[in-house]
Subunit: 245 residues, 2 copies
Amino acid sequence: MSYTVHEVAKLSGVTIKTLYHYQKIGLLMPESIAENGYRYYGDKELEQLQQILFYRELDFSLGKIKTAMQNEPSRLRCLCEQKTLLMARQQRISRILHTLEEAITYAEKGAAMSKEKMFAGLNKQEWEVALKPQNEYLHENYSYSIDMGTIDADAMNEKANEASDFITFMSNALRNGVSVNANEVHSVIDKHIQFLQRDMKIDAQSFAAQSKFLMTDEFHRQMLEKQQTGLSYYICFAAESYAGK
Amino acid sequence: MSYTVHEVAKLSGVTIKTLYHYQKIGLLMPESIAENGYRYYGDKELEQLQQILFYRELDFSLGKIKTAMQNEPSRLRCLCEQKTLLMARQQRISRILHTLEEAITYAEKGAAMSKEKMFAGLNKQEWEVALKPQNEYLHENYSYSIDMGTIDADAMNEKANEASDFITFMSNALRNGVSVNANEVHSVIDKHIQFLQRDMKIDAQSFAAQSKFLMTDEFHRQMLEKQQTGLSYYICFAAESYAGK
DNA sequence: TATAAGGTCTGACCTGAGGTTGGAGTCAAG
DNA sequence: CTTGACTCCAACCTCAGGTCAGACCTTATA
């Protein structure tokens, strides 16, 4: 199947000029060029274009896109990476939106925001840190948020792993439609609480309360939601169900 | 309170050069310029800068930003509009993400996507349509799933549409990470309840209770969850947050 | 008090990702 | 065989800054 510039443009939303530009810089070559100079694109080229547009959405420069696509010829892996990045971007917009909402409530009151808050999510330096390996980021942040006040590195690692396991389980349970009243959910919460009890006094009630509290913290909530949509709410309910048993 | 270029740059994340540029094109003037030529920015200027950055995030050109800020001197209304636009953008990213995910599953199977699907969300023409009346778009996608088994066509249609809009909104809100405490969520619940009140006596508390009750009914829960993982939990929380306001 | 280190101002030039204009060739339909 | 839509290509323009370079200012320290 071959497409003319016009067809490709209509399908993908880029202009003909842009296609030409991409050809000139060697980013996307036509499948074939007829004797009259007309350019024709095939299915493979469309896939490439799609990928280019995903990257462009992420504000990659065309040069970077080119090298990225050369270095990682596996379409699948490219796509997966793009997904990660796009999710990170969504995250960033969430933060900005949050800042914006705060700005609105301050403006309504006629009050002034703190200068750092004002630019949360907008300040790129800060944001680039959050961009990179989200997983570490999740780990770090989660563990740090649970065990404030401990120092020992190894123990901390163990805690991070436990927390991560717990979250993974809950995430799977939610995806699989397991009810918050299910026994396996309760028993995992039970184990998790037992683990927590090593460091702090905590019981079912206060765990439920704490889950709820965590939800009020936007940052935390987003972290869970990033892992699985709806997770923060699910955990909260599960904790409540467990506590009310 | 006055800030030097350096301080503003660090706070906001823009470069000094950019500040200079904004001054040159008259987008953001310093509060005062000392005799030695040094520029100083005050709190008002920081607020303006914040707003500029919000707009920039939305890919407004600097010229447009300038006129936008001149035409709408009310900071509050500016912010609210920006919020709407930013939420629209987030939805667009959601769509792209969805396309990306589909691309991944197709790639895993080694199959080919349909050409239109391939560019869903990326194609700007199409997207601009989706940008403005977001609601129509929502209609199409959802209305079919709610209104099975209706009797009175017209009245039911209205109800179906309302319910459908409500659920779709909540679903998007959840996907986009909007907090259950967010004003827009509350106001949508408010509207929904007002709508319900036409047919039955219901207030915030009983709505929250009913949401919770719905959750205990596996059939209803699964229906919501099928639409969007985590949705039943989210709605429940949102209702509670609304009731507790 | 001199000097170094670091901020600051300004203009001139560069860049990337296209858009615009315009002249000329090409295609399909009536 | 003409008309209207499509295509090619080159030269030039734009926008939002970045880079570089030279000169000036401020503050801390020797």
